[in-house]
């Protein structure tokens, strides 16, 4: 990723900061400091029609690929609760996702390529680690 550093110094730091306000925001890094939130973001970036119910399924399913065991209804519901009370409000406050509490629909807000790339790379790094 030496290319990125080069590109940054050429285009100037101010311009980059305007395009990607998130990258200079401490809160953004706090949002990404959770495996479940990074996975959630990577999924909603791919799918604009997901729901809390599906995201809990995806996160539970993702974790079963590490344990090999079936995730139960209790596992799913615990994650769904955590999504509604913690992860989604945090990501919504930051303007990364849009969440409709009535329908349960979750959408990714428009994020620029740098943010998307960062999330994708964090997912890839995780997979190559295991």
């Amino acid at each position: 990723m030496a290319d990125d550093q080069e590109g940054q110094s050429k285009s100037g730091e101010t311009a980059d900061a305007d395009e990607t306000p998130w990258l200079a925001d401490d809160q953004f890094y706090r949002a990404l400091a959770s495996t479940r939130r990074r996975r959630l973001l990577s999924f909603v970036i791919e799918h604009s029609d997901s729901t809390v119910d599906e995201l809990a399924t995806v996160l539970a399913g993702w974790e079963t690929t590490e344990t090999g065991a079936m995730a139960t209804v209790e596992d799913h519901d615990r994650i769904a609760l955590e999504l509604v009370h913690s992860h989604l409000p945090l990501l919504e406050d930051l303007g990364l996702v849009e969440y409709d509490a009535d329908t349960g629909v979750v959408r990714a807000e428009d994020v620029d390529a740098a943010v998307e790339d960062l999330i994708t790379r964090s997912i890839e790094a995780e997979t190559s680690q295991s």
Binding site: S42, F43, I45, E46, H47, D53, A56, T57, V58, A60, G61, W62, T64, T65, E66, G68, A69, M70, A71, T72, V73, H76, T120, R121, I123, E124, E126, T127, S128
Partner: protein, 235 residues
């Protein structure tokens, strides 16, 4: 009775979604071949190995890695005997994995499945085998096969069918003539496994205007249901 069993095998309440990368998994083609409806959703690039989500009546029931499901399909197929203490997800999954439903099937295909069930009964050599070829007269071309089965094994063989012909007596084979029209629509074989649940299997096919619809199953409970339904007809 057989109608109700057939309806229960269609699993209309279950939905399956495979989460995966761009490539179709072997499990999806297995499901398609076995008459199970399955959809898929694509995971983000660099995401995890594929997993299968199971829903019943639109509600989450369980999720597990596709690799684990494929492991369950490889012989030896072992299932917990008592399913009351497995989670809802496994219960739903076993019901589907042990049963193949079909919407239209030709006589030649049904014959092939029938041969497989008879073969299994022959190999095990004991237990109960109940068959119904719609009309008793349809048993005529099968008589030699069953004469051999009865001679070579300790099987209890029961042949059911609408009584339109009088078959010749075979030692070890009991005939049950019936005048019921429900039975006349059904091509059924059920073998109880002879004390070994993993050997239990059954075919339940109903004749429709465009072929046969039904299922074959390795689920010992379902096999027992079919055996009981046939036994209840026995006269």
């Amino acid at each position: 009775m057989l109608d109700a069993i057939l309806e229960a095998t269609a699993h209309p309440r279950k939905q399956f979604v495979v989460y995966r990368g761009a490539d179709e998994t072997d499990l999806e083609s297995w499901f398609a071949r076995h008459g199970v409806d399955v959809t898929h959703r694509v995971l983000p690039p660099g995401g995890p190995a594929p997993f299968l989500a199971i829903r019943e009546d639109g509600k989450f029931t369980g999720v597990l890695p596709v690799e684990s499901v494929e492991g369950l399909l490889e012989p030896p197929i072992a299932r917990p005997g008592d399913r009351s203490d497995v989670s809802a997800g496994y219960r739903a999954l076993f019901e589907v994995l042990d049963e193949t439903t079909f919407a239209t099937m030709e006589r030649s295909e049904l014959l092939a499945v029938s041969r497989e069930i008879e073969d299994r009964a022959l190999r095990v050599g004991r237990g109960t085998l109940r068959v119904s070829f719609q009309q008793l007269s349809a048993f005529e071309p099968q008589a030699a096969t069953y004469r051999y089965l009865a001679r070579e094994t300790a099987l209890h063989i029961h042949v059911h069918g609408v009584e339109d012909w009088t078959p010749s007596a075979i030692d070890g084979v009991t005939y049950h003539g019936d005048d019921d029209s429900e039975l006349g629509q059904y091509w059924t074989l059920a073998f109880d496994g002879g004390g070994d649940d993993t050997q239990a299997c059954a075919l339940l096919a109903r004749e429709e205007s465009d072929g046969y619809q039904g299922c074959w199953t390795n689920d010992p409970e379902r096999v027992q249901e079919i055996l009981s339904a046939l036994r209840a007809r026995g006269t």
